[in-house]
Amino acid sequence: MEYFLQQLINGLTLGSVYGLIAIGYTMVYGIIGMINFAHGDIFMVGAFVALISFILFALTAISLPIVLILVLLISMVFTACYGWTVEKLAYKPLRKSFRLAPLISALGMSIVLQNYVQAAQGARIKTLQPVIQGGFNFFKESEFVVTLSYLQIFIVLVTIFLMAIFTLLITRTALGRAQRACEQDRTMTALMGINVDRTISMTFIIGSSLASVAGMMFVMYYGVIDFYIGFLAGIKAFTAAVLGGIGSIPGAMLGGLLIGLIETFWSGYISIEYKDIAAFSTLVIVLIFFPTGFLGKPDIEKV
């Protein structure tokens, strides 16, 4: 029971991270109908920017809460530039091309990002000293002590906070309206005088900055990153997006939490070596039997 509770806490934390990345997939898919293959690597870049900022701020005497906010903002801004650039280079020139073309160029972009970070930052793993320490302990008298760390609380709270802001942004602002219009019909939206290019750019920027927050959480939670983390995290987050119903933002969050839980419970109870297999098989099973996900719209084949 205690063990179960601990896995639940860990799973929800991990799920928040996946959910934040999944939002980027789902938004981009919603607006241009394509998978952003480079999104996982954007998450990785975000993690690196956060790592570097943490190291720099460690030299100063700024208090922890302010450091956290600063790192958050810095990684969001810098990583958003990456998202913007990926869209401009790999997607925009190919918007009217045949379907596989942008997939290939995004794949190329993903290879570039991974190896560029490897070249610039080195291939060895990077470790970060714990930034937030301590936590609450429960069931102290039992054999297995359940820990809910402050860091986990921080991660979940930030995720909820960002989700709330973000939902407001999509449902209440002109940008959100433009985005939803672009999803329905891009040509018509352009005819209504909305700058479609800018709307698509904004989608990539928002998705990337959320991924960078996920990256920051990741580096704080695990304390270890390398240039390759984007690949696996990307696939898992994509699974989350599909599971929740691709195109649906609450779905992405829900899917993220589910994938996080599946992964932790699998490693906790079944086999840690095959924990990635759990994520991959979930992906395969979901796509084959359940392609619309929980909150997605059914996709009727138009004849």
Binding site: I55, R99, I104, V112, K126, T127, I235, E301
Partner: protein
């Protein structure tokens, strides 16, 4: 060039510089280095300054160039067209020339060990490209897990050869069949998925196979890999300097001086023959009903259904045939290396093969050859800049897609004609 234009392009380049600063500032400018087990930051501002200046100035010149181009618009970009026209008209002669060249290649004066190794590697990629061309180019199924079949071929070859001691010519077809069956097994559930979903699922399958190979220690020896895979022999004659007692070797049988190059040359011809078989098979099957159905499915699946073409079976055959050739190539890889480990079968291999097919021009056999020479050549040229070669590779993928989204050779020849061929 008026003043307004200059002003706006200056502004634009400044903006580009700013973006470049944001992109490269933290990642390149602040390199994290471990000192005494703690990370410190090493600033590299000069490099960043150079990159930013390069981006800004480059952007400025691109602006001016494209402004000039705007003035003399109408000239189609000629190089690609010229190449494809040339290849269209002289296609068969060039193909013949290329085959002759590859046959006499080992006897060229410059063909030393280094060149032979590169040639063998390129041939392997060409074969894989031709195999995958059936799946992606003809049937239009974006398979990002092709390396899985390569791995299945290599491992099944190795296991057959090590445990049963069967010869190359028995293990090779078995490994190919095994990989093909694997293709059917994997393809069966996933082939009704839409394009990009199929891509992701095949990618996941590819990774699952790799994880399985890594962890199934009793069968695959995990990360240690399989060693001692028998080297191929020339119809029973081994390539060895000091053979076991009473065993005739290749050099003694033909009365030659022993040279390690003999085995390399044999391997080269082996992969050349395998690749050519793949090529001729593909050319032939494309003209058969099943090949035409592959292409029709790529064009319009719904129309195919309305004509009574079974989409699932047709796609499955493409998947299985592609997987089989992947398996053949895997067998060759295993026997050439004599050692295989899961490290050789990562996602990046799949990406390289996909890039070869798509950049060559979907469905074009000659295109595969050209893009292999270009891409693998690029990786080779950058060999000394270890970490930058994949950056260059990925960059080339993006650039070719932007400038020639249909690949180097985009033109398709009909598989059957009413009028006799011109």
């Amino acid at each position: 060039m008026d003043k307004n234009f200059l002003q706006s392009s200056l502004k634009d380049s400044l903006f580009t510089g700013l973006i470049a600063l944001a992109l490269f500032g933290p990642i390149v400018g602040l390199r994290t280095v471990a000192v005494n087990e703690a990370l410190v930051v090493q600033p590299k501002w000069l490099v960043v300054a150079l990159i930013v200046a390069f981006c800004a100035i480059g952007r400025f010149f691109i602006n001016i160039y494209s402004f000039k181009k705007e003035q003399r618009r109408g000239e189609p970009s000629s190089l690609g067209k010229a190449i494809s026209n040339f290849l269209d008209t002289k296609g068969s002669q060039i193909a013949l020339g290329a085959i002759i060249f590859s046959v006499i290649f080992p006897f060229m004066p410059f063909a030393d060990r280094y060149w032979m190794d590169i040639a063998i590697m390129m041939m392997t990629y060409i074969m894989l490209g031709w195999g995958l061309n059936i799946v992606i180019g003809l049937a239009g199924l974006l398979d990002l897990g092709y390396v899985a079949f390569y791995a299945v071929g290599a491992y099944s070859y190795a296991l057959f050869a090590i445990h049963f001691g069967w010869s190359f010519w028995i293990c090779l077809p078995l490994a190919g069949l095994f990989a093909g069956m694997f293709g059917i097994l994997l393809g069966f559930p996933v082939l009704r998925l839409r394009g990009d979903y199929l891509a992701i699922v095949t990618l996941a399958f590819g990774e699952m196979i790799r994880i399985l190979l890594l962890n199934w220690y009793t069968l695959t020896k995990g990360p240690d890999g399989l060693t001692g895979i028998p080297r191929p022999s020339f119809f029973g004659l081994p390539f060895k300097r000091y053979p076991d007692e009473g065993v005739e070797t290749f050099h003694t049988f033909f009365g030659l001086e022993y040279s390690p190059m003999q085995r390399i040359i044999f391997l080269y011809y082996l992969i050349l023959v395998l690749a050519l078989i793949t090529n001729f098979f593909t050319i032939k099957i494309r003209r058969l009903p099943v090949g035409r159905a592959w292409e029709a499915l790529r064009e319009d699946e719904i129309a195919c259904k309305s004509l009574g073409v079974n989409p699932r079976n047709t796609k499955l055959t493409a998947f299985a045939v592609g997987a089989m050739f992947g398996g053949f190539a895997g067998s060759f890889f295993a026997t050439r290396q004599a050692f295989i480990s899961p490290e050789s079968f990562t996602f990046i291999e799949s990406a390289i093969i996909v890039a070869i097919v798509v950049l060559g021009g979907m469905g074009s056999q000659t295109g595969v050859v050209l893009s292999t020479i270009f891409l693998i050549g690029l990786i080779e040229v950058f060999r000394d800049f270890e970490s930058y070669r994949m950056v260059a590779f990925g960059g080339a993928m993006v650039l070719i897609m932007i400038f020639r989204p249909k690949g180097i050779l985009a033109k398709r020849k009909p598989t059957i004609t009413m009028v006799k061929e011109k």
